[in-house]
């Protein structure tokens, strides 16, 4: 599946060593089974089974109590896909996917390229940049809820910077709240992207840049034609993680806006918890969960096709 590309990406330094044969006598299979079984059992019962159950629940009108009796076929799906609030939620997820790729990605790469050189306090800079990623989304979200209210510290900072007039209510205006959410998400996850890119840059041999520099290439030409292509695998891993994260987004939205105002920041996951848990429409919430899953799956598979194609051309570049 698409994950194989990821593992090869992160295994660049590991290199493909063929697995050993385990078929020496009868103890091989027993040993293998004993080692795999615990993980497999936990994984099947607590990951695969619930996902399968969600698919079953989604076909019923069920409040989570009593027997599954009122089979209604695909009605829950029809209802979700004709609810403008849910369709808008899908739109918000997809917008965050696109915005992250278009804004966070290039920004992170640019900052990483600039920081990828011997600097005083380099370790400290890296550590501090990574801090938001380590904080829980709850803590980060609460911090911003306290920073962003009308006439709060952020507004007074803006006033100090010269914006004297009225400021928008960052979290309470439907036209603004989504962008506020995106900026907060960028604050939370840009550091992770930068650190990931810096880690990837360590795998790019310095000699290539030095050689090109001696041949008269400018800094920008070196980055554009040597470093960036070699950073390809890292960028693709980051993009995959970013896409999946954006599609499953829940915590930050739930804390920051609760999906409001007027559903303007709902995501598929907040919509699902709202119905499936808060309103006890377990069947309907499960249908939403399945839709969320199918969308993630389709996007991941599409992504894999693009990635595979790029990986082939990347291999050619690397061969020269």
């Amino acid at each position: 599946m698409s994950i194989s590309t990821i593992s090869t990406g992160s295994a660049v330094s590991a290199g493909p060593v063929p697995p050993r044969t385990g078929s020496r006598g009868w103890r091989g299979p027993v040993f293998i089974a004993a080692f795999v079984a615990p993980a497999l059992i936990v994984y099947v019962t607590l990951v695969l089974l619930p996902v399968a159950l969600a698919a079953v629940y989604s076909l019923f009108n069920w409040n989570g109590l009593g027997n599954l009796e009122r089979f209604i076929g695909l009605e829950n799906y029809a209802r979700a896909l004709s609810d403008p609030v849910f369709l808008a939620a899908i739109g918000h997820n997809l917008s965050i996917v696109v915005l992250s790729l278009v804004i966070q990605g290039p920004l992170a790469i640019l900052i990483a390229l600039l920081l990828n050189r011997p600097l005083r306090g380099r370790t400290l800079i890296r550590t501090l940049i990574f801090v938001p990623y380590v904080l829980s989304e709850v803590v980060a979200g609460l911090a911003f809820r306290l920073i962003l209210p009308p006439n709060g510290p952020f507004d007074s900072l803006l006033t100090a910077l010269g914006w004297v007039g009225d400021k928008p209510n960052w979290l309470a205006e439907p036209a603004i709240a989504f962008w506020t959410l995106f900026v907060v998400l960028t604050w939370k996850y840009l550091g992770f992207a930068i650190i990931l890119m810096l880690a990837g840059l360590q795998g790019v041999p310095e000699e290539l840049g030095e050689a090109a520099s001696i041949d008269g290439a400018s800094w920008w030409q070196i980055q554009r034609h040597i470093t960036l292509p070699l950073l390809g695998p890292t960028i693709r891993i980051w993009a995959f993680l970013s896409i999946i994260g954006a599609l499953q987004l829940f915590d930050m939205v739930w804390i920051l806006t609760g999906g409001g105002p007027l559903n303007s920041t709902n995501t598929m996951a907040t919509y699902m918890v709202d119905y499936g848990n808060q309103r006890s429409q377990v069947g309907y919430g499960s249908a939403v969960a399945v839709i969320l899953f199918v969308i993630s799956l389709v996007i991941a598979l599409l992504y894999q096709r693009v990635v595979l194609r790029r990986d082939l051309s990347g291999a050619i570049t690397r061969g020269t």
Binding site: I3, S7, S10, A11, V12, S13, A14, G15, V17, P19, T21, G22, S23, F31, F35, V36, P38, L40, V42, Y43, T45, V47, P50, V51, L53, A54, R117, P118, L119, R126, F130, P132, V134, L135, S136, V138, V139, L142, L146, P153, D155, S156, W187, I195, G209, S213, W219, I244, Q248, F250, D251, W254, A269, M272, V273, G276, N277, A289, F293, A300
Partner: protein, 281 residues
């Protein structure tokens, strides 16, 4: 040292510019954190009067009252238990499965790997409603194991995907040598492979600890009483219940940041090193 830098990067004026960029990025990153920590040392009246001022005078009451709050300590204990057992479980089950997948050829090996890898596409959000009904059936709602077991299960895919290439990189000659010296497969796993893969284990351990410590959705839905759930749920509950007490919420929030920050500072080389997937001691 700066001489080689300048030669490699081509132009001299770039250095101040780079420091400028670094400074801006760090400032934007850290400003919210500093705001929260500093304003925990003020009173709500001071904050309302001047939202962006510094503590004057410094007030320690809010922080003290967080530490005197019995719910806070229950939450910290719960978070520690949940994250600790989750980490142990993930690393143990993960390394066992990854070891076999990485180093043995057997029927269904590729399928098994793909099955675990596909787990990356099964978001916790999809499973959370069925998990809720399943765990309610077993009467486990409100029990810490209701959070621990699913967290282990959902952390396995990432763990196995990180560990498989890591374990595969350990040279086959070592295994042959161990076998010639009379070690069993388990002996090789226990005495050679585990010590050699320690850096990788620490990396996945740190990642799953931080993920578990910060988790919100599962504890929120499965642990019931928010006042005594885990730290993230508790902080959120406190901020809603005492929303008028801005300084108190800020103090609680900043105390809730501390464990993750301390843990990260101790383990940051592992986290960053783990991201490169490098096999370095």
């Amino acid at each position: 040292m700066s001489g080689t830098t300048i030669r490699r990067n081509g132009f001299r004026w770039s250095q101040p510019f780079v420091y400028g960029v670094a400074l801006v990025v760090v400032a934007v990153t850290m400003a919210p954190v500093f705001y929260v920590v500093l304003n925990g040392f003020r009173t709500t009246a001071q904050i309302n009067e001047d939202p962006s001022g510094l503590p004057d005078p410094w007030v320690f009451d809010k922080y003290l009252s967080v530490f005197q709050n019995p719910n806070f300590w229950t939450q910290v204990t719960n978070s520690t238990i949940v994250a600790g057992i989750t980490t142990f479980g993930v690393v143990l089950l993960g390394v066992m499965a990854a070891f076999v997948i990485a180093r043995y050829e057997f029927w269904g090996r590729t399928v098994l790997y793909s099955l675990f890898a596909a787990g990356l596409l099964f978001p916790l959000t999809v499973a959370v409603i069925p998990l809720f009904t399943m765990l309610r059936t077993f009467g486990l709602l409100g029990n810490l194991s209701a959070v621990i077991a699913p967290q282990i299960a959902f952390a396995l895919p990432t763990t196995i995907i990180i560990l498989v290439p890591f374990l595969r990189a350990i040279p086959a000659e070592l295994e042959d040598a161990a076998m010639i010296d009379g070690a069993s497969r388990f002996g090789f796993f226990w005495r050679v492979l585990l010590p050699l893969s320690w850096p990788g284990l620490v990396t996945v351990g740190v990642l799953s600890f931080v993920a578990s410590w910060n988790a919100y959705l599962l504890p929120l839905l499965l642990l019931g009483n928010p006042a005594t759930a885990t730290l993230p749920v508790g902080v959120q509950y406190f901020s809603t219940a005492y929303s008028q007490d801005t300084a108190g919420v800020l103090a609680f929030t900043s105390v809730a940041m501390i464990p993750a920050l301390v843990f990260f500072t101790l383990a940051q080389r592992r986290i960053v090193g783990g991201l490169t997937g490098a096999v370095k001691g």
